[in-house]
Amino acid sequence: MSELIPAWDWQNVVVAPWTTDLPIYGWIVLMGFFVCAACGLAGNYLILRRMALVGDAISHSVLPGLAIGFLVANAWTVGGSADDASAAGGSSHGFSYGLAVFIGSLVAGIVTTLLIEIIHKRTRIKQDAAIGITFSTLFALGVVLISVYADKVDLDADCVLHGEIAFVSIQPFLSFAGHEIAPAPVIRMGIVALLTLGLIVLFYKELLVSSFDPGLASSMGIHATFVHYALMCWLSVIVISAFEAVGAILVIAMLILPGATASLLTTRFPKVMGLSVLHAALSAVLGTHLAIWLNSSTAGCMVVAGTGLFGLAWVFSPSQGLLKQWLRRRKTSQESVREPESEHTGIEGA
């Protein structure tokens, strides 16, 4: 057991990442932050719509889209001339790969949503089972594809789960106007995160109304099904952009953890969004430190950090925390129940 947990080396774990090792860890933290932030923001809508596990589903089911995208792109580039092949460098970051993978993810997202709907609308199978069947089958398909075509697909099965974020720093940098800016995946993820924020700001009213009251939304001219599919597609885009670096596990976790933590601390929606981003940043930083110390998967450690933050919120939340509830229970229960004097309740379930 002692060899499992390395000694705590203050210099290595806490200081070095921000000073000497910044070129490596800086990008890792940034990538982690972008992933967590994008997922956290989009995930808040999933929580509102009670579709938290659909997010889980999409994160699994984009895998065959990813695999098929790789295979298709492979077929394209290899089919071209020798010059084309070497220009593409066989690298998984050439444009055709990126495009094929992007399309593959969108198709996978749409197919997942479609299949779930077909199963539970056309038979007596309920939605929870429909979600479970669809995503596990598609995920299994994806794993089979990448196992069988291991040489043509730039992923291996384990990576699918937790990614290999460390490679982010050593990816080729994208240049702009002659200056190297950042590794390509980081830039991609950054753009996706910014776009997520932008779309949320732009469509704030529509998203809010269609999440709370689909009936009102359709009377306002907002097509509920369209919003649903659009949300699913955008989710697929986020998942795919994050996949290679962090795998499925961080995405699934970060769709729910920031939003859930924030909702324990405040009730106003804009504040929830802000706190989600803060949670994302903290998880990314703390997770990286944890991973350095324990020599473990960075994505997994970011999830652990996020879970830890949630645990703190659960216990110490000023309004709903366990501590507060325990303190309240010290008084007798009926005293803590307000007498029904000044309001008529419209409580459901009576």
Partner: protein, 496 residues
């Protein structure tokens, strides 16, 4: 059938499924030869000869876990706890890792205990989260799933990076490798399977009642919390024994998919459980077989795909609940309704003329049913195809055959009886009844009609004063020619 977005989506979905499966089989066939030096046939023969001890273990293990997961998964499905199964199966990962760390090797008992504890802890946390915060159940499930799994992945990667880590075999637990099952693993699986069968058999009626209506079960004196937590414990056990063969990520599929398939095939719970067990065993065996064909291919995905294949078959072809059957019977029903409405319209036209003539022109029919001429002609041809009418060439008219006349009278009689019942017995105002009767008349069975007649004292007129054809009239016409209906306003009257 009108082409709507819905039908387009259905067809698209169906085509996609077929495509996925076709591509999968192509893919596999193409790749096997490249992966192994032995040909596919030889591998398959090797499989069926059962000479390989590791193969025997793999197959036995796959069948046992398919059985257990199918049995417990049925209850998960009908209680709508599919995603709880998913959460528990992800939540066990840190327990598996802890089991490895216990002795720094693959110790089945330590892994079993660790994983079970982790699973129970997970389900406990879900309950506490929903009870103490305003988080909804799906959010709580998702968080426990992701949180525990994340901790698990953390531990797993730590173990893999240890000097002794590479020999631990823990990575097999992610996607499963049936070939790595050993004798002690099989023993454990057998024990859990026997335990599951025993407990489900012993407490079947408690499980049934709690699953169907927990409030009632409580009222009847059943120990509902014990049943629920006992079930969760069994579930944790079955998840753990399935881990090594199917892998953490895909166990929930083996719980849900065979159960969902049998849900479409049966209407009684005990039959559903049995069918789910059988399907689980078949999927397990198929999965073991396919993964054996290729070296080092993980078993879990193949089991899941086999189960999914069976599901698709049931989805399409199941006798009562399958999509094709439902579409077909709906089509048949709407065809029947169309034909009967045409017959009824023909009868009304003839009745207006007091049956003095025998034929009805297409134009009259089109007017009476407010259709286009082409549509009414098409309906008449359909009647001719079914033998209810003849369309003499040259004339644009139709003549009912004896069978057609009999049918027309029956449908009119049902309609008018029903209208009378609604106005007299159920006190509907007369102007409200026509639409209801329109719908009901097509599905009234003979015995219901007889009851109606008795209840209405064999009335001869409907609320609008029109005569109700009696059975005798209908029968007698059957033998007569195609013309002239004796009865109606001339009143054949009640049977004596």
């Amino acid at each position: 059938m009108p082409v709507t977005m819905k039908t387009v989506r259905v067809h698209l979905g169906g085509l996609l499924c077929l495509f996925l499966f076709a591509s999968l089989s192509q893919v596999h066939a193409a790749r096997i030869g490249e992966i192994t030096e032995i040909s596919v046939w030889e591998q398959a023969l090797r499989f069926f000869s059962f000479r390989d001890p590791s193969l025997r273990f793999a197959l036995t293990g796959a069948i046992l876990l398919g059985f257990t997961c199918g049995m417990l998964g049925s209850f998960l499905l009908v209680r709508k706890l599919a995603l709880v199964g998913d959460t528990i199966s992800h939540a066990v990962l840190p327990g598996v890792a802890a089991g490895f760390l216990w002795n720094m090797e693959k110790d089945p008992v330590a892994i079993f205990v660790g994983a079970t504890l982790a699973g129970l802890l997970g389900s406990f946390m879900v309950t506490r989260l929903t009870a103490t915060t305003k988080l909804k159940e799906d959010t709580a499930l998702g968080m426990v799933l992701a949180g525990f799994f994340g901790i698990g992945i953390c531990l797993v990667t730590m173990i893999q990076r240890l000097p002794s880590g590479n020999k631990s075999g823990i990575d097999k637990f992610l996607f499963g490798q049936a070939a790595s099952l050993g004798a002690s693993d099989i023993q454990l699986m057998a024990v859990v399977t026997v335990l599951t069968i025993g407990l489900v058999w012993l407490f079947y009626k408690e499980l049934l009642t709690v699953s169907f209506d927990a409030g009632f079960a409580h009222c009847v004196g059943m120990p509902v919390p014990w049943v629920h937590h006992g079930f969760m414990l069994l579930l944790a056990f079955s998840v753990v024994i399935a881990l090594q063969a199917v892998g953490v990520v895909l166990v929930s599929a083996m719980l849900i998919t065979p159960a969902a398939t049998s849900y479409l095939l049966s209407d009684r719970l005990h039959r559903m459980v049995i069918i789910a067990c059988i399907l689980g065993m078949v999927s397990g065996a198929l999965g073991a077989f396919f993964s054996f064909l290729g070296h080092q291919l993980p078993t879990g995905p193949f089991m899941v795909l086999s189960a999914a294949g069976l599901f698709v078959l049931a989805f399409l072809f199941a006798p009562r609940h399958g999509v094709i059957h439902r579409w077909w019977s709906q089509r048949a029903r709407s065809g029947q309704v169309r034909r009967e409405n045409t017959l009824k319209a023909v009868f009304h036209v003839l009745e207006r003329e007091e049956f003095k003539r025998e034929g009805v022109t297409f134009m009259e029919l089109a007017e009476s049913r407010r259709q286009t001429l082409e549509a009414s002609e098409e309906s008449c041809r359909e009647l001719q195809r079914m033998g209810f009418a003849t369309l003499p060439p040259g004339e644009k008219a139709l003549y009912l055959t004896p069978e057609g006349m009999r049918r027309a009278q029956t449908i009119v009689r049902n309609h008018r009886l029903w209208e009378l019942y609604l106005t007299d017995a159920a006190n509907y105002p007369p102007d409200h009844v026509h639409d209801d009767a329109e719908e009901i008349e097509h599905i009234l069975g003979e015995d219901i009609v007889r009851q109606l007649e008795r209840q209405l004292n064999f009335a001869s007129r409907d609320p609008h004063g029109k005569p109700i054809p009696s059975p005798e009239e209908i029968v007698s016409v059957h033998g007569a020619g195609s013309g002239g209906l004796p009865g109606g306003s001339t009143g054949y009257g009640k049977p004596s």
